[in-house]
């Protein structure tokens, strides 16, 4: 993933504010990059524009060879489905579905229902979520929910995983387990971008970048 000169502004007139102002970032396969910064600094916006959930005002983004900033909605949908996995702070599991049904859902979107289901089961086994698989989110702990959400992000075998404050709603032990899991995802050959406040993220990240005044600065090489 390569992003360069990203600009994104919100508001109008005097209230207009550049959340991203020339931010640039490149993440390679097997690399885990942590992005830190104060609340409101634009960390989530950075992930959203990389995932094509929001549009940049200027700059270029390339994910798995595709120019995200130039893609239409359909192509963006395909890109998210096949090449990008998203993990959210609030897990965002569908409450009516069981753990395994939540995990397999993105696989159904690309028509790979049977293969997706077997990948989902394998992931669930690998992540130690066998018990959680048949239960609904309301019956699971936060850590279990977030690990299911990570399994959902991985089910279509994306090349890029974007995690937005994945430990924000978890206790220390669960948070640590999730960070370790993301590390193992990167070790599996995927690029991982982790936006977080969690000071422990530095321990698992290959690089830590700070987003300040709309730009990314290296904290540790």
């Amino acid at each position: 993933m390569r992003a360069s000169g990203l600009v994104k502004a919100y508001g109008a007139g005097g209230a207009r504010r550049r959340v991203l102002d020339g931010a640039s970032l490149a993440v390679g396969p097997g690399e885990l990059v942590a992005v830190v910064g104060p609340s409101g600094s634009g960390k989530s916006t950075l992930l959203h524009v990389i995932a094509g959930l929001d549009r940049v005002d200027a700059g270029t983004i390339e994910v798995a060879g595709a120019a995200v900033h130039r893609l239409g909605e359909r192509a963006l949908t395909r890109l998210r489905r096949d090449r990008i996995g998203l993990v959210f702070q609030a897990f965002h599991l569908v409450p009516e579905l069981t753990g395994v049904e939540n995990v397999v859902l993105p696989a159904r979107a690309n028509g790979g229902g049977a293969a997706g289901a077997s990948r989902a089961r394998a992931l669930i086994e690998r992540l130690g979520l066998a018990e959680a698989a048949s239960r609904r989110p309301a019956e699971l702990s936060g850590g279990e929910q977030q690990r299911l959400a990570i399994a959902r992000a991985l089910v279509n075998e994306p090349s890029l995983v974007l995690a937005d404050e994945p430990t924000g709603n978890l206790d220390d032990a669960a948070g640590a387990a999730v960070l370790q899991l993301l590390r193992s995802v990167a070790d599996g050959g995927r690029a991982v971008v982790l936006v977080t406040h969690d000071p422990r993220a530095g321990a698992v990240a290959d690089r830590t970048l700070t987003l300040a005044e709309g730009r990314l600065q290296a904290t540790r090489g």
Binding site: H48, A51, L53, D54, E73, R74, T77, R78, R80, R81, D82, G85, L86, F88, A90, H92, V94, P95, E96, L97, T98, E101, V104, L105, P106, R108, A109, N110, G113, R136, A138, E139, R152, A153, N156
Partner: protein, 754 residues
Amino acid sequence: MTRAFTLAVARIRSRPARTALAAVGIAAAGAMAGAALTVSVALTTGFDRAADRADLPDVIARFNDRAPSVVDRRVRALPNLAARSLRLEITGVHLSGRGRRTGKGSLEVLVAGRRRGYAVVEGRDVSDRRGDEVVVERGLADQFGLHVGDKLHIGQITTRVVGIAVGPDNVAFPLARTARVYVPGGPLVRRFGPAPVNVAELWLRDPDKLDEVLTQARAVAYGLRDLRFITRGGVRATIDQAAGLIVALLVAFALVTLGAAALMLAASAQAEVQRRLRTIGVQRALGFSRGQVTLQHAVEGALVATPAACAGVALGALAASGPAGDLLATLNELPPGAALLPWLAGAALAIVVVVAGASAWPAWRAASRPPTEVMRGGDLGRPRRARKRVPAGRGYFALGARLASARRGRLAATVAALGAAVAVVLLMLSLAALLDRLKEDPALLGRRYQLTVAGSIADRHLIAQVPGVAAVGERYFVDGADAFALGQPVRLIAYPGDHTRFESPPLASGRRVAAPNEAEVGLGLAQALGLEVGTTLAVELQDGEARFRVVGIDRALDNEGRIAYVQPPRVVGADPGLLPSIAVRVAPGTDPNTVAARLTALGMPPQRAGGATTSNAAFLGVLADVLRVLAGLTAVVCLYALLQGLALTARERRGTVAVLRATGAGRRQVAALFTGAAVAAVVPALLVGVAVHQWLLAPAVAGMAAGYADLPVNAGAGELAIVALGLAALGLGAAAWMTRRAGREPVVVGLREE
């Protein structure tokens, strides 16, 4: 109150699209109510309105031609008489005008009296000083395209139309057999000398003493031959023979439709409050009282509902006024005009009250819960314990169905509103189909013969030998009046022997006729005259009275059940000039047209035995139009209810949809999701609607009609297919609409919501 008003206005202005959608739904329900009210009020009050406007006489007496002075002397001798008018009625007159002609004209010569018994609806009445002026009845004017000032030729005489009138003592031409033209008698008398009269119109001081006047009139009527009376009540009964049953059914529709509209409005208003749960929680947290929150929602509901309800009711009234007006014109009745306004205003007010109440009640309930709980959103009802997972299909379609089913209360309200609408539409379509069959299918009335021949009895054996003829029989048919209540018309049908070989309406009670002194009466007649098995039916005929003992009661539809099956001897005894026709029953599998051709070749051209209302095909067509207008409006309401339910689900699950889109769900998957949600409502609604129709509405309507007949109002495969396909199309349309809306929203907006 002022603060509530200000807040309500501010909220409405902040969500114009949402408000517009709610207003459209209210307007749709208002249109249903407006249309239903317009039809029912117009039809139920049409006769009285026209009769009052036309100053319809209490009694109309018809007799053979006599000198006016003789008739006037007898009439003046009657007690309780307020006014009288005498006319000469000449039928079979040739009329032509504006390129159209008919030989069915009826010249009504106004010989004496100032009161008319008809209402001039356009132009003016005839003047007694001008001999070339005529007033024509509206049915004739419509058929010929006549306007005031046009020329009308009566035989060789050219006259000028100065007015168009409605005479509610009969249905309009061509539904009636004659086209009436009113001409002043004075100029004719001056030109040709004294004219006889054959109609006397009587207005009574006390109409309640009608029977005494009729008894006295019979006593003083010596010398007047072929004397027949018809009373205002009798006219009404006659008109009702053409429309009463259908009018009653339309009124029933109106009530059902109004109920469905009220249910939908309540569901819709509750959905609006559901959307605002968080706001209610914030308001309560900021110190708003329950009363303030409730009042604010009530005011907001009323503000949105008032213009929408007024517009919807007006639109519905406009849409239905055309077909209802056509129907009234066919019946020679007048539209309600401004008299409808209080009803429509009442309907609009009721809608506003329902919306305000339905907005206030859930707001009150929500405001009763802890603010933090309300701010978290969820359903209006108390939180329930998690249910065990219901096994369901996989994929986005099944997920949509699950999302919709997760809110059981709302799904139930949507299903109830849709189901009620489906039941109403099914009933309307079934009745429209029934009307078509009534036009075509004599068997529906219990008639088993297909042809009649106006030959002599001697021809009977000849006809019986024609290939394809299964049975022939003499059929006597005569209209009389009940001898105890002279204003009540009675139709007698007589067959020698077993009449069920030719006409077999279902027997409701008792047994079939087996002797000349016995009668089977229709339920309509039994109810009108208070007849039961074992009582006596006395019928006043041409030359005397015929009495019968009632042995059975039929569910006969013909003549609205005001009918009696007897054997010929007593009928012929009381009316010796009566001649039978020959009823011909065609063998099963034989085309009646083939037999008709064979009979024609023998010099005995037959007539087809149509339904009860063969001559009223246009009338039935108008009725079917009215039903279809109501069905169309109800379908619009279905669409709205679906959109409302889906929009609410989409609004509530905005975050879930955004997450699905963020994780790769494209337009197709979102469409599948909303289709699943629509199907979750549509399928049970269809089942509920069909069940309500088949087991509740249809039996109720059939029961209501049971006074007249057995009506097969259950929906057929065709109607069910139309409704199922229509509902499926509406569901797909609603899902497509919601998919489009969801696709327009940036994913990040939904994610923030989640």
